[in-house]
């Protein structure tokens, strides 16, 4: 992340996202696929690192195999949605807020305090060897009734992170058309250099 000043001299913390140029690889229609969608690809993969099906699929759009491919479902296909056409940051012009979909940083096998914000046990007052334990995970009278198993969905330790996550209602602070950059206020899911999907916010209420 970095910081930028706007015209009023207000400092905004922003994440810089390179968004494009993307290429439209496939256009799905109700007639052929049962629904309308546009498939776009970002960033080339070297031919020797891509599989032949991926190279072939991209070749139909007249480009090299793409690293990051996503499908965008639409109710009605826009007229300029043609296979092989390029999509750049221009589509975000005038958009006030965006949502960002990415894959969070993996944290490995994490305990309940880190994973679910459990409180843990006291550090002293006689507590021994169970400072970060979850405590009881159920007993005789749990909602499952009597039985040998804990309730379904019981929060426990386990793998944390590396899952799809959406952060919503980021202010779109700026667009750099020359370098295809979006300046998105706040932090977005994933590690530095990771891949994310940016879309016009579905929930943000725009103040007139």
């Amino acid at each position: 992340m970095t910081q930028v000043y706007d015209e009023a001299g207000v400092l905004h913390p922003v994440t810089v996202v390179r968004a494009g140029p993307c290429t439209i690889l496939q256009v799905k229609t109700v007639e052929t696929d049962g629904y309308n969608a546009v498939q776009i690809g970002f960033e080339d993969v070297k031919a020797h690192r891509a599989t032949k099906p991926r190279i072939g699929h991209a070749a139909k759009a007249g480009t090299k195999a793409k690293k990051f491919i996503r499908e965008i479902r639409v109710d009605e296909l826009p007229e300029d949605a043609v296979v092989g056409a390029s999509v750049s940051v221009d589509v975000f012009e005038g958009v006030p807020y965006v949502d960002v979909i990415g894959t969070t940083k993996g944290k490995g096998y994490a305990g309940v305090m880190k994973r679910h914000h459990f409180g843990g046990m006291p550090e002293s007052h006689g507590t021994e060897r169970k400072h970060r334990t979850p405590g009881s995970i159920g007993g005789h009278a749990t909602n499952r009734g009597t039985g040998p198993k804990p309730k379904k969905g019981k929060r426990m330790s386990g793998h944390m992170g590396d899952v799809k996550a959406t952060t919503r209602n980021h202010k779109l602070v700026g667009i750099d058309k020359e370098h295809n950059l979006l300046l998105i206020q706040g932090a977005v899911p994933g590690a530095n250099g990771g891949y994310v999907m940016v879309r016009t916010s579905k929930t943000a209420k725009v103040k007139a």
């Binding site: 992340m1 970095t2 000043y5 400092l11 810089v16 370098h179 950059l181």
Partner: protein, 156 residues
Amino acid sequence: MSQELIKIASAGSRKETLPEFTIGDTVKVHCRIIEGDKERVQMFTGTVIGRRGEGVSETFTVRRIVNNEGVERTFPLHSPKVADVEVVRRGKNRRAKLYFLRDRVGKSTRLKELRGPTKAEREAAEKSAAAKEAAAEAEAQQQADEPVGEPEPAEA
């Protein structure tokens, strides 16, 4: 790659020329204050006790004593609201952070004044001196290259 993108993105928010001052200097910070549609400049005078961060996020802290109470203000170096930083007096010190000043009161909060040319001035002087020397050398070279006037034939 991501660092490069950050540089590109924040380039527009950076000041092209930064005011020159170092830690220990007594400075006047010219703050732009916007009240309604009027803009005026207010001064904050004090000692620079630290600088932190890099690039567009760099900030500096100025400490002064108001009514026997220490006041510290941290300014973003690249903020358009910081119009100028004027050095009033240069202070001599060997530290990057002058937090020890917080424990001091009265006369002991003053730093020794640093006299003589600043680093920038020294560099400029060196440059001009070097240029002068080079010019003199070139002239000397030219003179040496010129054929020495033949001794005038003695008149018979």
